[in-house]
Symmetry: none
Subunit: 190 residues, 4 copies
Amino acid sequence: MRIKDDMKQAALFEATVKLVNEIGFSASSVSKIAKEAGVSPATIYVYHKNKEELIVSTYIDIKQDMSRAVLEGFDPTLPIRDIFQNVWLNMFAYISEYRNYVQFTEQFASSPYNELVNHQEIEKYFKPVIAVLQRGISQKIIKDVDFDILATFIFYPILTLSNARLCRTVKLNDAMIEKAFTLAWDAIKL
Amino acid sequence: MRIKDDMKQAALFEATVKLVNEIGFSASSVSKIAKEAGVSPATIYVYHKNKEELIVSTYIDIKQDMSRAVLEGFDPTLPIRDIFQNVWLNMFAYISEYRNYVQFTEQFASSPYNELVNHQEIEKYFKPVIAVLQRGISQKIIKDVDFDILATFIFYPILTLSNARLCRTVKLNDAMIEKAFTLAWDAIKL
Amino acid sequence: MRIKDDMKQAALFEATVKLVNEIGFSASSVSKIAKEAGVSPATIYVYHKNKEELIVSTYIDIKQDMSRAVLEGFDPTLPIRDIFQNVWLNMFAYISEYRNYVQFTEQFASSPYNELVNHQEIEKYFKPVIAVLQRGISQKIIKDVDFDILATFIFYPILTLSNARLCRTVKLNDAMIEKAFTLAWDAIKL
Amino acid sequence: MRIKDDMKQAALFEATVKLVNEIGFSASSVSKIAKEAGVSPATIYVYHKNKEELIVSTYIDIKQDMSRAVLEGFDPTLPIRDIFQNVWLNMFAYISEYRNYVQFTEQFASSPYNELVNHQEIEKYFKPVIAVLQRGISQKIIKDVDFDILATFIFYPILTLSNARLCRTVKLNDAMIEKAFTLAWDAIKL
DNA sequence: GATGAATGAGTGTTCATTCAT
DNA sequence: CATGAATGAACACTCATTCAT
């Protein structure tokens, strides 16, 4: 038995992201993805059980990649504000470099595919950040609000700022990223 | 000749929203929508040029409806904070009653269909709110930040809070809505 | 009861010819023909039993019109050659003025619709010409060949010369028409 | 992987010719052709880009086949009359054996599909015959008339004689073919 | 492992026709 | 007489997937 070809695996990943971003889930047929990746449609079924699994696994791969990038240089001993600021900067760096990945996850998250993934599994990747949030609440640094509401104000705006339309009209520079972080921090801090 | 049936028009609207929310744009075929609405697939083409136009017009109808609801009782003579609080309360009322509509618009906004609508046309509906925002900035009540960033922190979190998962786990009560508004206001206020 | 509107009848005739010539029988749908004629699709069914009858009756109308034109000035007392020359000239005059009608009949004749018309009925219109042909044979002026073969050489080339492609590249002038008639006559004369 | 099946290709060709002759282009739907050929409608799209290409390629295949048959035993050293007589005999032999193919080309030629083929490409197949025609003119054996008019009298009558109705009523025998050729030759010879 | 051929099921859309007005 | 609304049936075509190689 030959070994599965990592190049093909990667080509399929990139082709899936690219096509879904360009033409949406609906129009991204298996054969179009195969052609974009330079393989036969049948080959996709060597690597993935079916189309659904191809798309869901692409999403999970991105989320894993994203969490690794976001937690880079994570230091729980720093002041809480600095920890969050570091997370923001990592996030923006990631978004700048891999905007297409983020765009894919946004489309995915608001599609019915979203129901097929184990979100607890994915939240696990971001656990350290959540822990800091909880520490902040107990230390009366962060508002004592339902966790989901806090998350909405810290994490969601970052994603939104990466929106295609926004990023096209506003080229985000360091000063603006700073300011944006200030808004997020003001929202959650006590 | 028969006259166009408003009941059919409305049934198509509801069927489109329902199906897209349940199974996504991709799987919401014209014939499924027709069956859900209780009409023949061909009848859809009496009311809409094609599937795309059916979906886009559904989106626009919702956005119009939403803006009407959000601006209810809008009073530009009130203090700025009160104006925004009113918008929030309207928004939440709308989301509570028509969560399915909001869910539809979210999925729509991150799909390629989004590129087909004239967003300036839609933003027009929300013009009064935007004007207040600008007044707040010039009166040094609101942070002098790029408008898109402010919007990200005021409007988008509301939508996110309507997220299916969140709303399922957390039943938002009046106290929480107040708190959530506080976060938004703290983010943008000077 | 109002009287059927001759204007509408004529508009339908012209619309049918025009559309069939431009896009063929297949693509000439009832509703397109109706739109071209400026009436409702339903109105067509006031004047014609169905689409088939609309097209067949259009064909028959043209054939009748054509026979009237071709036999103009028909004089059986003239020499046989002159009679045929007169028919040719009439035919060319007709083709020049109503090329679109001729084009329609050609397409019709090689389509399965052709089986639906009573050809003996139509040949009747051209009976005088056929009689002259038979007289020519018995007077040893015209070759004693099966009638269908003779007809092939006299009448068919005229139609072919009206072919769109040909008429585009060659503008038929009087001299050429004369020459073309000479070929036809040489073919059948003894 | 499986290899493309020549049997299927041929079955599609025959099914297309048969159906178009029987019910016309319009009524010859892709699924009917597929059923007649004993394949799935989807399979047609393995062999042809779309319906149009299926029909046009069927036409071109026939024309190529026909030219091969017509030029059989072509000998430019023979007297010009003999060359043309040979072409006629080949043509009739072809028409007798493959009347359905010829019928298809006639219907095709007067349909809008006709505009989709490169006619110069097809005329190329018949180039040797055209060359002889031109030689005949310069040697004062053939009338000095526009080439298109000559062609109308030599080639088209043959096709017309293959007409379904005619061939049904008149069984063309060798003597009649001879006579018919005489008419054609008398038409063009000086 | 990798693939192009093959397909049943489905797509969005248009059709000829009927119906209520 | 005239019509736009309405539709079942059909259209050309694409889909996700399987299969033989």
